[in-house]
């Protein structure tokens, strides 16, 4: 029996790690930036209530001589895949039919799913740079792992129920796309008066597995006599011989930065615009790329001698020849899954009260993501928040979180962008965000 049949697309998208998930869209947060000399500008009553200690707190902290920031952000989300299915995939469980059918019932025609992990450590310091007061040198290192997919209902059906139900029918497996990528960055830049920063990153490409399917109509002949695939798509893959955390299969560069603007007035308003990893990786010559726009008929692995079928069945080249897929080893350049973000906040005293945010990541399955937040100030040390959002990899989401001030120098953030998904087994999407910031 051939071992060649294997559902690929959703597995690639879904079996990525999802454990340490958190919310990436907050990776450029107002408080992740030195956003200026923000004075507590609330009313006199507010100042009386919260006291002068809040003025010094860093809910809206100004510039500091040293600023060390760690952000571990991540997210798994999907607009149709149920968590019990995804967790079953990740944990290596038996996926019974009921679990698979529950997700099947939730399919939406165009389905999206993805997982993001991003860890950044940055440090800026000093009083001036190049003779400019308020400028600080900035260094940063980062690790990214992204998985994203956009797929049709038929892809799910074939992957989790097989193609027998599609005998003598066409399964529309496209349009769709998927991308799994990980890379590391080392960045050097400048922070400007705690209001903006710009950073140039050197990027080391780890692994890449990506495809873009414009059309893929699969016809299964009765009894599986043959498969007809009308395929129009592209596929890229990094060298699989070099793997692991320290793998280097490509090199590139990217730009990250942010800019914050405070609008004058009694009720302070701030606008933060940021970009992360706007750049590229040039994958090396060990990589593979294939582009096809043609019908493919697969009648089984072509064997010369019917009486010697056990030998060549599992040979990759034989299978590729039978499928008409001749991968070509070549180098190529692909843009990074960059993130663009804009955030608008209304402040009361030294802490934000409302926030509206829009972001977009250049990754398969990711839609423009809009989010609105309301902050509740419980004390000088705890700032809870409630968020509602739509887009990204998922649909409508409600999230909660809180920021904690630990002493005079440290702030921590812990939140989930998806309360229902995180707590409910049959929900969709899960996430936890962790941020840690120190200023002194």
């Amino acid at each position: 029996m051939s071992r060649t049949f294997r559902p690929v697309l959703p597995v690639i998208a879904l079996t990525g790690w999802i454990s340490a998930s958190a919310q990436v869209q907050d990776s450029i947060r107002h408080d992740a930036l030195p956003i200026g000399k923000l004075e507590p500008i609330g009313t006199k009553k507010e100042r009386r209530i919260y006291g002068k200690d809040l003025a010094a707190s860093h809910w809206g902290a100004g510039s500091s001589r040293h600023h060390l920031q760690l952000d571990v952000t991540g997210l798994y989300d999907a607009n149709s895949l149920r968590n019990d299915l995804v967790m079953g995939l990740y944990l290596g469980k038996e996926l019974d039919r009921a679990v698979r059918e529950r997700t099947q019932d939730a399919l939406k025609g165009t389905n999206r799913a993805g997982a993001i992990f991003s860890a950044d450590l940055s440090y800026s310091w000093g009083d001036s740079l190049f003779g400019k007061a308020g400028w600080q040198p900035r260094v940063a290192v980062g690790y990214r792992a992204f998985y994203g997919a956009r797929f049709t209902d038929a892809v799910y059906d074939l992957s989790f129920f097989g193609n027998a139900a599609y005998e003598d029918r066409i399964a529309e497996l496209g349009p769709g796309a998927f991308e799994g990528i990980n890379y590391q960055t080392v960045g050097f830049g400048i922070a400007f008066n705690a209001e903006a920063f710009i950073q140039l990153n050197l990027v080391n490409g780890g692994t890449l597995n990506a495809g873009n399917i414009r059309k893929a109509d699969l016809y299964t002949a009765p009894d599986g006599q043959y498969l007809d695939l009308d395929l129009d798509g592209d596929y890229w893959r990094s060298d699989t011989a070099v793997r692991g955390f320290d793998a280097s299969n490509g090199i590139g560069a990217s730009l990250s930065g942010a800019w914050a603007h405070t609008f004058p007035g009694n009720l302070r308003k701030t606008l933060v615009i940021g970009v992360q990893d706007l750049g590229f990786i040039h994958w090396n010559t060990g990589s593979l790329a294939v582009s096809r726009d043609e019908p493919i008929r697969f009648e089984g692995i072509a064997v010369e001698d019917v009486l010697d079928i056990d030998g060549p069945l599992v040979q990759t080249e034989n299978l590729q020849d039978s499928l008409g897929l001749g991968y070509k080893r070549q180098s190529f350049t692909r843009v990074l899954p960059a993130l663009l973000e804009a955030r608008f906040q209304w402040w009361n005293a030294a802490a934000p009260v409302y926030e509206v945010k829009v972001d977009m990541r250049y990754l398969a399955g990711y839609l423009p993501h809009i989010e609105a937040a309301r902050y509740f100030r419980l004390s000088q040390c705890i700032l809870p928040e409630v968020r509602v959002g739509y887009g990204g990899f998922g649909g409508s989401r409600v999230g909660i979180g809180a920021r904690f001030r630990l002493g005079n120098a440290i702030q921590m953030r812990l939140s989930t962008p998806n309360v229902v998904g995180t707590l409910a087994r049959t929900g969709q999407g899960q996430g936890v965000l962790l941020g840690l910031e120190a200023r002194w």
Binding site: M1, S2, R3, F5, R6, P7, S19, A20, H66, L68, G88, L89, Y90, L91, G92, K93, E94, L95, R100, F160, F161, G162, N163, A164, A165, E167, T220, P222, D223, G224, Q225, Y226, L227, F298, E299, G300, I301, A302, V303, E304, D305, V306, L307, I309, D310, L313, V314, S322, L406, G407, N408, A409, I410, M412, L414, V432, L434, L436, A438, W440
Partner: protein
């Protein structure tokens, strides 16, 4: 910066929580109902019969040409050179003693050596390998120089000579010196000093008192004894007359893999066979074939060849001596339906050919006047060639092969759980093929035949027996869970194809462009990540 203990505790707790969410096993599992093509292939005659055995004429008609060696006879028993040892003694013919000054030569003698080679009368012998051993025993009280030479034994034109210095000895305590010399490549002229003899080699032996020594006193009690031995002689070439000899080739057999795994009734329109005996020795020979028999060990049937070559002796011409080698004499006898029962011989589908024969060399004596020859490489080879035009009729002609299938997974865990194996055939061969699959054990005993199987219909043939159009057939083989488990246990499948030509005994011509296209697909239950 002052990190508080509480901060570290919170961070540690979060990390532990994240890391604790680990996989229980490697990969999730779920089952699929799949319908997938497995293999596409074409069955041609080349898959059944090796391409090297198939011949095609200008019109695409196929014939089968098969050659098998019955025997290869090396006549090393005809030409053997036994180890030979000769003794040459010198004693002073008078009581003496006599004084021999330094450097005095004595007993210079020329002699001949005659080898006892029984019936062989050799005039020339070229040695492939062998050894000459010369041993001289000295009982004289003075150093003696011994010179031994064979003028008739040359290597690149130089005669063979051995010199030895033998220390003084006494009758009570003789001294002995022995010298060996490889004879590889030496040519021995065995015609003797006069050039008109056989098995005779000229020899010279002389002694000399040591020119650097003093006067030597020799009496009649002193002696010199030389032993000359010819050991382990293997001839490279020999010429002469080797006698009339009878060689019996005991009943023997050779395997024939042409029809391996095939049974049933095969009716051939015509067959021709050639018995080719090549004679690499320079001697006439005569062979008498005791029997030449086609044996089918599976059915137990045998067919005796009945042809002129089996009814009386056949003469084998001699090879030609080219000086540095030889040219074989090829003796060929053709057997066909007109002069033999070769059709029945082949249609028996033999897996063994049994034979026995007697061989007489030089049956007419020394007719070459001593110019028979043998090379070390000389052989008498017998080959049987079968030429079978593939115009035939088949009745339940059965081809069976056992395939070892290396399935992924184990008995305990395999992805393919159960289903149906579909076989789609487009048959362009002029015979039907009943296909059967069975799981067999190591001894090829059927453990489970796979149902339902069926027959691939024959292609349509016209009045001349040529295929006019292909046929389409669809066969199914059920693979339930028990069958899959059994298949993983043995890993062996026996494929049986029973061929029948469409119109009984009417012969059909097989052509090079005939083929049966086969596509195999699987429809059934597949467990993702189920292979362990």
């Amino acid at each position: 910066m002052a990190l508080r203990t509480s901060t570290l505790v919170i961070l540690s707790g979060l990390l532990i929580t994240l890391v604790a969410c680990r996989k229980e096993s490697d990969e999730a599992r779920w089952d699929l109902e799949v319908a997938v093509p497995l293999v596409s292939t074409a069955l041609t005659l080349g898959d059944i019969i090796p391409d090297s055995l198939i011949m095609e004429d200008g019109e695409g008609n196929l014939s089968l040409l098969y050659q098998d060696r019955l025997f290869s006879l090396r006549l090393d028993t005809v030409l053997t050179a036994p180890d030979t040892s000769l003794r040459y003694s010198y004693v002073l013919p008078i009581p003496g003693p006599l004084q021999f000054p330094a450097g005095t030569a004595f007993n210079s003698s020329e002699n001949i050596t005659r080898f006892d080679l029984e019936e062989l009368e050799m005039s020339v012998l070229r040695v492939r390998s062998g050894m000459l051993q010369v041993e001289i025993t000295n009982m004289i009280n003075g150093t003696i120089l011994g010179n031994f030479s064979l003028p008739g034994a040359t290597l690149d034109g130089a005669p063979l000579a051995v010199q030895q210095t033998v220390p003084p000895g006494t009758p009570a305590m003789p001294s002995t010196v022995s010298t060996g010399r490889a004879l590889d490549g030496y040519r021995f002229d065995l015609r003797g000093p006069e050039g008109d003899d056989v098995n005779t080699l000229a020899m010279a032996l002389s002694y000399l008192t040591d020119p650097a020594g003093g006067t030597v006193s020799i009496s009649s009690t002193d002696s010199l004894i030389a032993h000359v031995s010819y050991l382990d002689i293997i001839p490279e070439y020999a010429k002469g007359f080797f006698g009339t000899r009878d060689i019996t080739i005991e009943p023997s057999s050779t395997s024939l893999d042409l029809f391996e795994g095939i049974s049933g009734v095969l009716d051939l329109e015509s067959v021709s066979a050639r018995l080719r005996i090549t004679n690499g020795i320079g001697i006439d020979a005569r062979a008498t074939i005791g029997h030449l028999r086609s044996v089918n060990t599976a059915t137990g049937s045998s067919v005796e060849m009945n042809a002129p070559i089996t009814n009386g002796p056949i003469n084998l011409d001699r090879a030609i001596d080219l000086g540095s080698g030889f040219q074989e004499a090829v003796n060929t006898w053709t057997l066909n339906s007109g002069n033999s029962n070769v059709e029945a011989f082949v249609e028996n589908l033999p897996d063994r050919i049994e034979y026995a024969l007697d061989l007489r060399i030089a049956p007419l004596g020394n007719v070459s006047n001593g110019n028979d020859f043998l090379y070390y490489e000389s052989r008498i080879n017998a080959d049987l060639e079968l030429e079978i035009p593939l115009r035939l009729s088949a009745t339940d002609l059965t081809l069976a092969r056992t395939l070892t299938v290396d399935l992924p997974g184990t008995l305990q865990g395999h992805a393919v759980r159960s289903g149906t194996l579909h076989v789609f055939a487009t048959n362009g061969l002029p015979f039907s093929a009943g296909l059967g699959l069975a799981i067999v054990d190591e001894g090829d005993q059927v453990l489970l035949p796979l149902q339902a199987g069926g027959t691939v219909a024959a292609a349509s043939v016209d009045g001349s027996g040529t295929v006019s159009s292909s046929s389409e057939s669809h066969l199914r083989f059920l693979l339930d869970e028990a069958a899959m488990d059994l298949l993983h246990t043995t890993g062996r499948v026996r494929v049986t194809a029973v061929f029948n030509t469409p119109n009984g005994n009417e012969h059909v011509q097989l052509r090079s462009d005939y083929r049966m296209d086969l596509r195999l697909s699987f429809e059934g239950n597949y467990l993702v990540n189920g292979d362990e």
